[in-house]
């Protein structure tokens, strides 16, 4: 993955030339087209199941891609990233239920809460290396999960936040309307992905890659490694929290499972499935996993076996994520073509 990334780094750093303009606006153009396609989907199909599927993809996609900022770009294997997914869902749900403020205010307030919590937890965690970082993040995740379970008077305990989340109309957007919710989820997904793409391609994003490949050298070059890691930890938490909010809006509630460690495990799994060396790998992984989950549960009650075998195929057979595999295959073909 590292070699592939290094190769990409050379071609993607914008040089002076005609391509710069194209490269600067390419991502925005792709995002606009993707949004137009997704948003016009309800015009062609009345299938509620398909729209629901896209909404779930938005929630998990935001979460998984933000995890890739940590795992793939910075080399921080977080095992507790799901805590911010849960935190987003719960904060948003609680603010809407208790305070009854407009949705955008609750949205911003939730992001602010997430940023503070992530900064505190991150400040403790990012000092630690590799496996210890993974364990401490896992411990914090479980701490938040136990807090949700035990603080039943506030969070509803193991029953979750019930009674529905109120969704008042704002600026003509009515999120209790299924189509409105669908378009809003797509918009959040695309905006989130675009923002994360900007982070990944910015000089800061390349600093992160350098920290991943050689933290000591980055430090010698005058980069404050701790601060860079903490910054990306908080940024990634914000996008995970966004995913949690989409999920909370979708199911109109929040459940302790959102903060359980399996969400983090699924996030890692999605990343491996899709591939961590391409920006859209986690998105591909999300669609794959959700498709897999949906189809397999329809055919057999033993979906663990089927899912396990598929994972084994990826881990032992391909030895990399799907999009990584495709990207390398194309790279090989191009090399072969140039050699001729």
């Amino acid at each position: 993955m590292t070699e592939l990334e290094a190769g990409r780094a050379e071609t993607l750093v914008p040089g002076r030339g005609v391509t710069t303009v194209w490269e600067r606006y390419r991502d925005i153009l792709i995002a606009l087209i993707a949004f137009a396609v997704l948003a016009s989907l309800p015009l062609f199909t009345g299938s509620k199941a398909l729209l629901d599927f896209v909404i779930r993809c938005s929630a998990y996609g935001l979460f998984a891609t933000s995890l890739n900022l940590l795992v793939g770009y910075t080399g921080l294997t977080s095992f507790g990233h799901g805590m911010f997914f849960g935190l987003g869902a719960y904060s948003f749900g609680l603010i809407m239920q208790r305070l009854g403020v407009p949705i955008p205010i609750a949205f911003v307030a939730t992001l602010a809460i997430t940023a503070v919590v992530a900064a505190v937890i991150g400040a403790i965690c990012v000092r630690l290396k590799e496996i210890y970082f993974a364990f401490v993040t896992l411990a914090f995740q479980m701490l938040i999960h136990s807090t949700i379970l035990s603080w039943a008077s506030f969070t509803g305990g193991d029953q979750g936040l019930r009674g529905g989340i109120p969704r008042p109309v704002f600026l003509g957007v009515d999120l209790s309307n299924h189509i409105h919710l669908y378009v809003a989820s797509c918009a959040l997904l695309i905006l989130g992905l675009l923002a994360m793409r900007q982070i990944a391609q910015s000089p800061f994003g390349y600093t992160l890659r350098m920290i991943r490949d050689n933290a000591a050298r980055a430090s010698f070059l005058g980069i404050d490694v701790w601060r860079a890691k903490l910054t990306i930890f908080v940024l990634a938490a914000l996008f995970a929290s966004m995913g949690g909010m989409v999920m909370a809006l979708f199911v109109s509630g929040a459940y302790p499972e959102f903060a359980y460690w399996t969400i983090s495990g699924e996030g890692i799994f999605i990343n491996m499935l899709g591939g961590v060396s391409t920006f859209l790998g986690p998105m591909v992984g999300t669609v794959l996993l959700l498709l897999l989950n949906d189809t397999v549960t329809r055919f057999t009650e033993y979906h663990g076996i089927v899912l396990g075998i598929v994972i084994l195929f990826f881990a032992l057979g391909l030895r990399k994520g799907l999009l990584d595999f495709v990207a390398e295959w194309f790279a090989h073909r191009r090399e072969a073509g140039e050699g001729r």
Partner: protein, 300 residues
């Protein structure tokens, strides 16, 4: 929070004895699982995420053997031997393929097997709760120590786990095989160059780890209910134990497991709903103050 109950218990010897033994039971079972985990990590440098499944299989193997033969000793033997064989096969066929690969790949293979093993148990033994029942030999009057109730089976359980700890500790530090294993953990290339089959060592260590977890499951079968997925909470807790004690340290696993057992049994009195939270809080505190764990070596 119920601090009165905790204070009340601490001032009564009967309650103190009861809670301490229940803490020791939890701790000893955790130790058996965690020591296998720490051993596998120390030698193979692999975090065996599927370790809880061996605990589960140990319990189910023991239950089936007990139902077929009616012999408790045979049930324990079956639980331990069955998981040892399973561990050997699992390591040789699957895990050995991902050594040197990304840590995430290793975790992924283990995660796949957690899913598969849980469903296998569901297919063979059914999804409902099962129980093995207390063997007749132990259905006797409990002992009373300082007013506290201690079932005799608990004493056997603590004894077996302690014996395993002693045998393991002495075996690793004194015996020839123990020395080879430690050498393989330190420098597998050199050990292999000296004509020792490291693949066999790796398989053996994995089998040993699986066996210890299986033994823990078999020992727990009479006192806990059996269900697919039962290995999971044990896995998470034994992770906490190894992390607190220090990855790769047997003494650390013992101390960590006992501490965690006591936290659980006394914590359930003082903070009935936040018992799990206490464990994680403890883990966070240890890791933040000493990232390598209480007995971990620096830069391991």
């Amino acid at each position: 929070m119920d601090l009165d109950a905790l204070a009340g218990c601490l001032s009564s010897s009967a309650c103190l004895v009861t809670q301490t033994t229940s803490g020791l039971i939890i701790g000893m079972l955790l130790f058996l699982v965690a020591v296998g985990l720490t051993l596998i990590f120390g030698v193979l440098k692999v975090v065996n995420f599927s370790h809880g499944a061996f605990y589960m299989f140990g319990a189910y193997f023991a239950m089936t053997a007990y139902q077929l033969t009616g012999s408790f000793a045979l049930a324990m033997l079956c639980g331990a031997a069955g998981t040892a064989i399973l561990g050997l096969i699992f390591e040789r066929v699957f895990m050995s393929r991902v050594y040197g690969a990304d840590v995430l790949m290793q975790l992924l293979v283990c995660y796949a097997f957690v899913l598969i093993f849980d469903d296998v148990v569901r297919i063979i033994w059914g999804p409902e709760f099962r129980s093995m029942g207390m063997p007749a030999a132990f259905q006797v009057m409990p002992l009373f120590i300082a007013g506290g109730v201690v079932p005799p089976y608990y004493l056997l359980l603590i004894g077996v786990a302690l014996a395993a700890a002693v045998v393991l500790g002495i075996g690793l530090s004194r015996s020839r095989i123990g020395k080879v294993i430690r050498a393989a953990a330190h420098n597998p290339g050199m050990v292999s160059a000296l004509g020792i089959n490291t693949g066999l060592i790796y398989g053996g260590v994995f089998a040993l780890g699986g066996m210890l977890a299986g033994l823990a499951g078999a020992l727990a079968a009479p006192v806990r209910s059996l269900t697919p997925g039962m290995g999971f909470s044990v896995l998470i807790e034994s992770f906490i134990v190894t992390v607190i004690g220090g990855m790769g340290s047997i003494l650390g696993a013992l101390i960590g497991a006992l501490l965690l057992g006591l936290i659980r049994s006394f914590g359930s009195l003082g903070f009935p709903l936040f018992t799990e939270g206490l464990m994680y809080l403890f883990m966070v505190i240890v890791l933040v103050s000493k990232p390598t764990g209480l007995f971990g070596k620096e830069a391991a």
